[in-house]
């Protein structure tokens, strides 16, 4: 018998070797998104197709700007971790590592670009 605590035995398990952390992140971000996405759909859907001035006026208001920022950041982080589930199911080795790195970089890039655009319109 090896003298290991239950915790030591559980650490590093799971396809991504991150234990239950990843699953918990998906659950928290899912509940958060479920609360804000419906309102975001209304705000964004109303802004889409407006004139340039109307769009600038919309995102200069605090609620549309903050809500869109939240959906972008947490929606895309949720996507990053969700895409990880698929990548770990279908690929192994170097392909898996490269796909995870690419997804991570792409996601952060998109978040930064979206926040820059929002900040420029809001301020």
């Amino acid at each position: 018998m090896r003298y290991l605590t239950d915790r030591k035995r559980a650490e590093g398990k799971g396809a991504g070797h991150s234990g239950t952390e990843h699953h918990w992140h998906m659950q928290v971000s899912a509940v958060g998104l479920a609360l804000i996405v419906p309102t975001f759909l209304y705000v964004f859907g109303s802004a889409l197709g407006g004139t340039h001035d109307e769009v600038l006026a919309t995102f200069a208001r605090p609620i549309p700007a903050i809500l869109t920022g939240l959906v972008l950041v947490f929606g895309l982080l949720h996507f990053k971790n969700g895409a990880q589930i698929m990548i770990e199911d279908y690929w192994r080795g170097t392909t898996r590592k490269a796909a995870l790195m690419f997804t991570t970089a792409f996601t952060y890039g998109l978040i930064a670009t979206g926040l820059f655009a929002l900040a420029k319109m809001a301020l």
Binding site: A34, G49, G114
Partner: protein, 147 residues
């Protein structure tokens, strides 16, 4: 995923148990369903659609960020992005995205319900599946009407 596990239980009743559990090398464990000869059913379809919609939503996210960046840059760039997003192709992509996010939203809530240990018996799982398919279309149409 919960849906697939329910689906496997159902299939096991219909197939010879010995054939299901002894694979190459006599591995004594349940094997994944062989997708090409497997009868499609609602829990299976709605489970894979969760993955497809979740990952496909990155296309919508890229379009939305591009549109925001264009609006922040200049009136000319905004005119271009807005024309692309509201063109007929853009309309198709945005309508599919809307359905995709409503579908994934409902499927996500179902996932949380399954994770909490509920709804995993076959009759309930079938009903929840139909609920997702019908509910997502209803929510999409309602959103289009309201906006």
């Amino acid at each position: 995923m919960g849906g697939l596990r329910v689906a496997c239980d159902e299939a096991e009743k219909e197939t010879d148990m010995a054939e299901q559990t002894s694979g190459p090398g006599g591995v004594e464990r349940p094997l994944s369903p062989h997708i090409q000869i497997y009868r499609w059913h609602i829990p299976m379809l709605t489970s894979i659609l969760t993955r497809i919609t979740g990952n496909a939503l990155i296309v919508s996210a890229v379009l939305v960020v591009w549109w925001l960046l264009a609006a922040a840059t200049s009136p000319e760039y905004y005119a271009l992005a807005d024309a692309v997003i509201t063109s007929w192709l853009g309309d198709i992509v945005m309508t599919l995205s809307l359905w995709g996010i409503w579908y994934h939203f409902l499927a996500g809530l179902r996932h949380l319900y399954y994770d909490a240990g509920h709804g995993l018996d076959i009759p309930t799982a079938e009903k929840l599946g139909w609920g997702l398919l019908i509910g997502s279309v209803v929510l999409t149409v309602l959103t289009i009407i309201i906006i």
